[in-house]
Symmetry: D2
Subunit: 348 residues, 4 copies
């Protein structure tokens, strides 16, 4: 019963197979491998963006930091959610890669609203040379609390950015889960909605460790390559990144995997919804559930070996009826048996 | 006939097998996986350093840059060879990770001498607060030109560093090839010789992409962890790094692989040595050969599909007798047939 | 009628005289001038800190950024007010000097409270290596809104910092105005209250451009010197910085000047308080007033040549009765006549 | 007898007078003062560059670092002399301000030659994404050893830069001394010779502390302003920088002062040239002399209170006949009496 994160499950067999298949003889290093040529074509097809620059890195933080650094100056500020991964979970990597840019937190909620975004952007640069200058807007899709921006919401946010002539980054660590949730195409969720650069995640969706950065403006390509190398994220034996991404994009593995994860989440949330002692903190829209239930239930789950984060409050405490929040992340690989056992334990 | 680099060959089957084996169920992320516990013990045993802090990253540039950044300040200068990888081939990554430290090139040769090192160090800080301050000494073993510092040479260099109270970094991208060449132990080539922190390479010796950073002073551990995360080099699905290193260190795979590479190099260099038109630019001591022979021979090799770098001079040119330098790197995976075919072609 | 800022008034005659007097013959450069020896002694006496390291720079932003950089790591976050100068008015200089550290905004008010500070600090590092680490606490005294922390408030804030073992920086761009307001000694407002490093401002209080950085822990001295030089803030003809500070600290000029500025503020605020249409947004405690009055009054003032910032709202607008906020900063050099004319204009 | 540096003499009376005159009433801060409007016009006139962007800072290191940072990327390398101030005497400030760019040392001499420059530039980027990219060329005029590039030499160097499409920076800490030496105009020595951005020094030529940065391409202006602010080099009471530069450029003070310094140097070098025991290491062309004479002479000078750097070798030593090198810098303010006394002492 592992619901702690989708960064802890196994990789798909097809990913491992692809590595094995790639492991034949010599291959040109540093992204000049033939598999990467295929990957580039696959990604451009997928995004309906024949000119896009496509690069692979091994971590989501690298994808985000390099994408942002290519689109912002050290004297600027990036606008993002108060709970964005780039703010809370990357140990100042965006500040590092951008040379010391600032992050401005838009509102206090998980999802940015157009009003809050416009207010945040408008507030900056009222001080001329003294304050940080307006920089990129970074949107997380799926959000950190398991919500999904609708296409209209996305477009409304990017429209605000464009009002101020600012570029837009999409942190798509769970890109596939969002596409499945919205039933849209990758193009609709990105450049057609006003996004300039995407972190297209693979790691959390059944890969070993690979993320694509897709820059819709190919003029940014060379700068990105130099920043990737300077950040020590250019792999010599690049074919093993390529192979993962190739397999991920073949036979719709990326979609199937996300569908499975979202379906697991749906199974779990449906079950929880029927349990009176459980309340939902956010409406689950992809593969993450934030819900609250009594401490006693948490303790029962933990005693039975369930692994997940108690998101607010502490497992320790006297009052067994106090409700504590759980974050439950559904990996593609979680079994129905595990979900059902978890639900049984919650039911008590 | 691929002699371009040891970063382009396939990984050992055992490495692939280890990935497959690691790919079972859930595993704690970010280096908390159980395989990493084994790896930590393996590395400490290997280095006879029970207190050492041990971390994994995926690229050699990351290993070097993070190691150096943990041992130097932004107002310092690192001392290294004029042809060091950290200077020539990392696109300012050491400068980036250190926050803008400088690299001082020691002499103009591949190998640093104690005289040149002492002179370089002595020269800095004669300007007080105005010049960069003396920082770490970085030694590359195997060097960029295929040479190997003897243990005495290493000790003499680190002794100079210690005179000035400076820490010593060893760039061991080809650590195993050096150990095989010297017939010494990892401890003898590192902390027993005065080295403080090592980049222990796996990638160029048959892994997919993994390097260990070994810090003999465990007080540096937490800072290193923070810098690794901030550099976006902390893998969520860390078990796949761990698995590579575990397999690499099991059954002496790391040693066997390096022995094979060095033996390949010996086979090739012995053959070349017997050919009159070939002269050696550096004495090959590990798995790299720098030698010169006529343009016509180069052209014959290239026409036959041999891949390697023409290191000085150009393949194009009128004079077929002009000698051009070749860099020939022998991967563990090169076949005897390829070596012998190469030699036949050189013989003409 | 210039109430726009205390960075726009003339310097005291004594400061100019000191420059002229210092302008004799040769003087050792880079802070080795004899006047600096006196300044060092003066500052140590003033702060009752015989061991303190004392340095001069020419701008408040340099003082703050260098002080913070000496006390925080690039993977940390500095805690400060949401309206702190280091956050809003230094164009990412603290991020630049610290190598990319973050600023965490404590609450949404001008003054930090212990509760908000404790909550902010406590929240960080619940994510281990993933989030920024807890760094220095920076307190602005006088605050950006003209308030002054009492000694008890200061001690309570620094006590929270010390709970978490964090260093404390005091941004004292208006240090003298605060000392006058509290009637305390510099020592009481700094190290006796738990402050580790101070930006002791001169520029806004009648100097040309000089700020002292006082580090109570002399072990930080050399690092500070190197960071100052690397930041290009070490003056060759340093004697002209020294001379300013020497004159500023002689004959209690620094205190007299601040008394004059605060008295000007008192005269203006007393007058305003008696006018029914004026309301105070913050209680003026030093030399700044934030108050609101009708647009028509603002227009009358501007037409008459009064210079100050309309802090919220816009001078343009249809409704003459709408109240707009003014920021009125009283320099030492403002004449009673100007103050009285201003009051007359407000009275209408 | 102070020949240690031209950073240690007094400022011209006219500079002090200008400060006093500027010290009247309120003035707009941050470079919006009226004196700066005059200075901008003066500098544009002087350089025959009506569109140039003109900014003031207080130190030469700030001028150089900000100028370079505005013209180079963090993944690039700047080409400069092996003894350039930006390399040896700025404690990594250029690396800091550029975000970690590298400096490539061109040759081993004081003056760069076109051959050495072309070779250095050509060598970079033979490694594609792996090595640092070619960045700006920085030329020091007057050089660190007191030499002056002729206009033809300057043009030849900038022509090499332009071959590779690289921008050119001129470090003119002693700009005026070079103009006097060459008998040319500022325009001839800068944009007419292919220079893109100049550090136009005032500090070493009789100011208190002021340098102009002149960017001939006004499109660089805003970025420069932001970098200056972020570097904490934007002065609030900017009028006192403006006033220095205004006085410096009025009545040809800048030229007169440099003529005086160069004439002092000529008087000293003529005298030295007539003394048999003195040999010149470099031909003095501006206001600096590098010459060698016996230790006994050095000791006599030091005993008599002469201050200058013994540039190579040490004053301590047994052999009174050993020749040691002296660096003698002639400030505008040195008296003929001091020069003559110095010569008398050398004569023995």
């Amino acid at each position: 019963m592992f619901f702690a994160s989708d960064n802890s499950g196994p990789a798909h067999g097809a990913i491992l197979d692809a590595l094995a298949q790639a492991n034949q003889g010599f291959a040109m290093p540093y992204g000049s491998d033939k598999i990467m040529d295929e990957v580039r074509a696959q990604v451009r097809d997928l995004f309906e963006a024949p000119e896009a620059a496509v690069y692979l890195v091994a971590t989501g933080t690298a994808a985000n930091s390099l994408a942002l650094a290519s689109y912002c100056q050290p004297y600027e500020t990036v606008f993002c959610s108060a709970v964005a991964h780039i703010h809370e979970d990357e140990c100042n990597a965006p500040e590092f890669y951008s040379g010391g840019a600032k992050l401005t937190l838009v509102g206090q909620e998980d999802k940015m609203t157009t009003d809050a975004l416009r207010a945040s952007i408008a507030k900056e640069e009222t001080r001329g040379v003294h304050g940080p200058q307006r920089g990129a807007v970074s949107i997380t899709q799926v959000t950190e609390r398991g919500s999904v921006y609708s296409l209209d919401e996305l477009k409304a946010l990017t429209a605000v950015a464009k009002e101020f002539d600012l570029p837009v980054h999409l942190d798509g660590a769970r890109f596939a889960n969002a596409v499945v949730s919205l039933g849209c195409t990758p193009a609709e969720m990105t450049w057609k909605a006003g996004v300039d650069v995407v972190s297209f995640g693979g790691t959390k969706n059944g890969c070993i460790g690979v993320e694509a950065v897709v820059l819709f403006d190919p003029k940014k390509a060379w700068e990105f390559e130099l920043r990737r190398k300077r950040g020590a994220h250019l792999f010599s034996k690049h074919r093993y990144l390529s192979a993962q991404m190739q397999a991920y994009l073949s036979d719709e593995l990326w979609l199937k995997s996300a569908k499975q994860a979202n379906a697991n989440c749906e199974r779990l949330s449906s079950g929880l919804r029927a349990i009176e002692s459980v309340s939902f903190v956010h409406e689950p829209q992809a593969n993450m559930i934030f819900c609250a239930f009594p401490r006693a239930t948490h303790q029962r789950l933990h005693d039975a070996g369930a692994l997940y984060y108690v998101w607010s409050g502490s497992l320790e405490g006297d009052d067994p009826t106090e409700t504590l929040e759980a974050r439950l992340v559904c990996d593609w690989s979680i079994s129905h048996a595990d979900i059902d056992q978890f639900l049984d334990l919650v039911r008590g």
